[in-house]
């Protein structure tokens, strides 16, 4: 509860703060301060049950009776904490670059706080209505952020495209909710109280399920609903692409798995084949198309589709390992992607050749970029490996459709191709373009990159640091 209320409040604070902030940088300080506050209070809520185990009273700062419309447990709260930590790194790494996007800096931060509010709701919803609220609160600020580079035509186009496609999928989601509500005899919005009938699922609920599946697949950019992703990610200001591709996408996945586990988990086998096809298509399209990209930014957009394919394995498998793995994956993927985007923003030239010879110019950036890319590829010793490993264990444990697992690892091998193209450019090619770069890099930025990559390696060695909290 703390996170939902505080992010909303702090979003408003940031919005009005824009009037009073004299300097651009002030907004960043306020945003970081607010985020640390939210994070601290969310963690406080997380450890609460253990501290006061003997007392029945559940003490949190804001104890509002939500009639069980939102559900808080250690899994949800841990996920929110992880996302807040990722956002904190994102603010610290990209703060200066957010200031460069336009004049209304504090509004950008305000919008990000609203997105975080949506993320928190999407992670804790317990009814179809709160799900809808969460997804929408998460999406609408993003439409604005995508178009925040007002004078850039591509940014405008991306925002419009995102908005149109996004509202379309929202419509489908609402229709799905209506079908599920109307079709089940319990007449309940609560996700765990939907009557799925005995044996075969009732037709109306089935239609609603498919609509919800489509809407969620759109939000997490799964094929064949992924077409907006490359254009939007490419068109949006790079700082916001980084945010969209990581925290928002991870939240979409948590909403996805929570919805389908709690609402439709009992009839898992009836829709599993559908998810298997979507997963395979996402993996194939994401990986194959990424191979042919020349622009790193666009390549990362496709790679985010490919990674989404791997995360879909969790929804395909739908067991405890899958849930643990998904949170781990969300953390591993977000940290690595935020890191690589932070480095990308510092480059003048977004093509792969633009990275040529980076190792000579900026060894710290080069080595940390290598860690991020190795993690995205899934090489042991990085968090990315553990995440992929958990996914594979979950998918194999599930016991059906083994072909999908083989297909997934072959796609992972393809992904090595395009991630290593950047590594090759950084370390093994000589470049003059990089030399022309006017490096605007502080020591703090380098230290942060090192911290993020250390964190990735730490999670690669001890993934239990995250997974243990889920069953706290």
């Amino acid at each position: 509860m703390n996170a939902i209320i505080l992010t909303a409040v702090w979003g408003i604070v940031m919005m009005f703060g824009g009037v009073f902030f004299k300097k651009k940088t002030t907004a960043l300080y306020w945003a970081v301060a607010g985020l640390v506050l939210v994070l601290a209070l969310n963690c406080y809520e997380l450890v609460q049950p253990a501290w006061f185990l003997n007392k029945t009273e559940y003490r949190v700062l804001f104890n509002i009776d939500v009639k069980e419309m939102l559900h808080f447990n250690s899994f949800n709260l841990t996920f929110i904490s992880i996302m807040l930590v990722c956002t904190l790194f994102y603010f610290l790494l990209n703060g200066r670059d957010i200031e460069k996007v336009g004049d209304s800096v504090s509004e950008y931060f305000a919008l990000i706080f609203f997105v975080l509010c949506g993320v928190s709701i999407a992670a804790t919803f317990n009814t179809l209505l709160t799900l809808f609220l969460g997804i929408e609160i998460m999406s609408i600020p993003l439409y604005i952020l995508t178009g925040s580079d007002k004078r850039n035509l591509k940014s405008n186009e991306a925002a419009l495209k995102y908005f149109l496609m996004g509202s379309f999928s929202t419509g489908i989601m609402l229709m799905g909710i209506a079908f599920v509500y109307g079709g089940n005899s319990n007449g309940s919005f609560f996700i765990d109280a939907i009557n799925l009938g005995d044996g075969k699922i009732p037709p109306l609920v089935g239609v609603g399920l498919v609509f919800l599946l489509i809407a969620m697949a759109f939000k997490v950019s799964a094929a064949p609903f992924h077409f907006w992703t490359p254009d939007v990610y490419d068109g949006a200001p790079t700082v916001f692409t980084s945010f969209m591709a990581t925290i928002v996408k991870a939240a979409g996945f948590i909403a996805f798995i929570r919805l389908f586990e709690n609402a439709f988990g009992k009839v898992h086998l009836q829709w599993q084949a559908l998810i298997a096809v979507i997963t395979a298509a996402t993996l194939l399209i994401g990986n194959i198309t990424a191979v042919f990209q020349q622009s790193v930014k666009r390549m990362l957009a496709y790679s985010s589709i490919a990674q989404a394919g791997f995360m879909l394995l969790a929804i395909f498998a739908m067991n405890e390992t899958a849930k643990e793995g998904l949170v781990l994956y969300a953390a591993a993927y977000s940290l690595a992607t935020i890191g690589i985007f932070a480095i990308l923003i510092k480059m003048n030239d977004y093509t792969i050749d633009g990275f040529n010879g980076l190792a000579k110019q900026q060894p710290v950036l080069a080595v940390t970029a290598a860690v991020f890319l190795l993690s995205l590829t899934g090489i042991p010793l990085t968090a990315g490996f553990q995440a992929k490993f958990f996914m594979l264990v979950a998918a194999l444990k599930n016991g059906h459709q083994h072909w999908l697992v083989v297909f997934a690892v072959l796609c992972a091998a393809v992904s090595a191709y395009y991630y290593f193209k950047i590594i090759q450019a950084i370390f093994f090619k000589e470049g003059s373009d990089v030399a022309a770069n006017d490096w605007d890099i502080s020591n703090g930025f380098k230290i942060l990159l090192i911290i993020v990559s250390m964190l990735i390696i730490l999670l690669g060695l001890f993934p239990t640091l995250i997974t243990e909290w889920l069953h706290y």
């Binding site: 490996f385 490993f389 091998a413 290593f420």
Partner: protein
């Protein structure tokens, strides 16, 4: 001698890791060289200690178990059995030899070069001591990463493409193996608490649980291939070998020595450690396929080696032929063949490193390694020639040299298995004599040309290191018994799975 917390396998892994990480920060070239050589010698000392370590308290200093990921039953479990000791010793011997042999080469940013070399040594050690499937996979991939950077950064002209091909091949193979590991893991029996008999974890990655797993023949059949492809790529076995000549040719000589001397043993070791005990029925079912592929590969590689003009590619194909024989011998699952494989894994490492040293010396002095451009080296460099001829004899497996012992035993096993395979494999031995002697003749004898006229003989440290190689060749050739003693227990244990 050692406590329960720090054991020999630990030292073998962590000495190179720590030394490697330190090397990154040594800016001076000679400092980095000396430091890494020192570290390599310390590792060698530890490894030698493990060979003589008394058998009575074998469990005390050689195995270690730390619950790493408790929930899923993976642990940091390391142990040294006979096979492991042999191969860690090979790894430990190789690196000082490689460092001394290439001592005069200078590299751009040499601290990074030597740091990565030591890290790759750590990865190799890890593979050979891991007794937990997940840990094995961890090290299996980790050994690859430093080598990838080494080849791509310091290699020849086409290094980036060649190394990348190598990387993608092995990465794809390893990922398939990962599926296999997870699948077997999900079929292992639950881990029970020794006192209460309550289930602690559902499944375990531990090697003993893997060896005790019950799999139906049909499951074994497809799992076998998931594992085998990963190992076949690494060895490499025909038709998975195409990355190898390119990579050997393009890599810097020191890295090629690591690759061919030690790294290919990872594949053979993987078969012995994981495939034979876990999938015995599938091994019996597919033995003809694998041995057939190996024998075809032997003849194929030998024929290509005859036509090679580039010395590095020549050695690469010669290596494929030798590895083919070892792989065939493993799949006979005969005791004598396996003993031969064990000793031959060590010998092949020594011989091929010796061959690379000679090739490296020629290339460094003359700048070429085309057989057609060389000739008459013997007139200018008699010492080098003597050394090379001995190594060449070992390559053909003449009696008195180390390879004779191993190959003889492997052929005996193969003969017990099927006489026809022995006939065709035997042809490749004749071919080996053809290509090796042909190379010796063209490069070392005959008339000097303009290029080789300027050749000088080798210097003291090069002499020293080649003498070490020669001593090892003759020692094992004359007195191989210690190696048999070392590995006979693990082979006996292995073969119980086939009864």
């Amino acid at each position: 001698m050692f406590g329960n917390s720090i054991t020999i396998p630990h030292l073998l892994i962590f000495i190179p890791v720590i030394a490697g990480l330190v090397t990154f920060f040594i800016k001076s070239e000679s400092g980095a060289k000396t430091w890494s050589l020192l570290a390599a010698f310390i590792t060698l000392g530890v490894s030698a200690a493990s060979l003589v370590y008394s058998k009575n308290n074998e469990l005390n200093g050689l195995t270690f178990n730390y619950e790493w990921l408790k929930h899923i039953g993976a642990s940091f479990a390391v142990s040294l059995d006979g096979t492991g000791r042999l191969l860690t010793f090979l790894t430990a011997v190789s690196f000082p030899i490689i460092f001394i042999a290439t001592y005069k080469n200078s590299y751009k940013s040499s601290n990074v070069f030597y740091g990565l070399m030591l890290l790759s040594q750590a990865g190799l050690m890890g593979v050979f001591v891991a007794s937990d499937a997940l840990l094995f996979y961890f090290f299996w991939e980790l050994a690859l990463v430093p080598v990838y950077f080494l080849c791509s950064r310091w290699g020849g002209e086409r290094r980036i493409q060649a190394t990348f091909k190598f990387f993608v091949y092995t990465f794809a193979g390893s990922l398939l193996m990962l599926i296999g590991i997870i699948y077997v893991y999900l079929h292992t029996s639950p881990v029970l608490d020794p006192n209460t008999h309550a289930i602690v974890v559902e499944h375990s990655f531990s090697m003993s649980y893997f060896h005790g797993v019950l799999l139906s023949p049909s499951q074994q059949n497809w799992l076998f291939w998931l594992f085998f492809i990963a190992f076949a790529v690494k060895m490499p076995i025909f038709p998975f070998h195409t990355w190898q000549p390119d990579t050997y040719e393009q890599s810097p000589t020191a890295v090629t020595m690591v690759l061919s001397g030690v790294m290919v043993k990872m594949g053979l070791f993987g078969v012995i450690r994981w495939i034979l005990p876990v999938f015995p029925q599938a091994v019996i079912k597919f033995d003809n396929v694998v041995i057939g592929l190996s024998v075809v590969g032997m003849i194929y590689a030998s024929l290509i080696a005859i036509k090679q003009d580039d010395l590095k590619r020549f050695a690469a194909y010669s290596s494929i032929a030798h590895i083919g024989l070892m792989c065939a011998a493993i799949f006979t699952a005969k005791s004598i063949a396996l003993e031969g494989v064990m000793v031959q894994m060590f010998n092949h490492g020594i011989n091929i490193i010796g061959l690379w040293i000679v090739i490296g010396l020629i290339e460094k002095q003359l700048g070429v390694r085309k057989i057609s451009q060389l000739g008459g080296v013997a007139h200018r460099a008699p010492v080098l020639t003597i050394m090379l001829v001995v190594i060449a004899f070992a390559n053909i497996a003449l009696p008195l040299t180390n390879a004779f012992v191993g190959e003889f035993m492997m052929f005996t096993g193969l003969f017990q298995f099927n006489i026809w395979y022995t006939v065709f494999a035997g042809i490749s031995i004749i071919l080996a004599a053809v290509y090796t002697l042909n190379m010796v003749q063209k490069v070392f004898f005959g008339e000097n040309n303009d290029l080789t006229a300027s050749m000088t003989d080798i210097s003291l440290n090069e002499k020293f290191i080649l003498v070490v190689v020669l001593v090892l060749i003759f020692f094992v050739g004359v007195y191989p018994q210690p190696f048999f003693d070392l590995t006979k227990d693990s082979i006996a244990l292995l073969l119980t799975r086939f009864k």
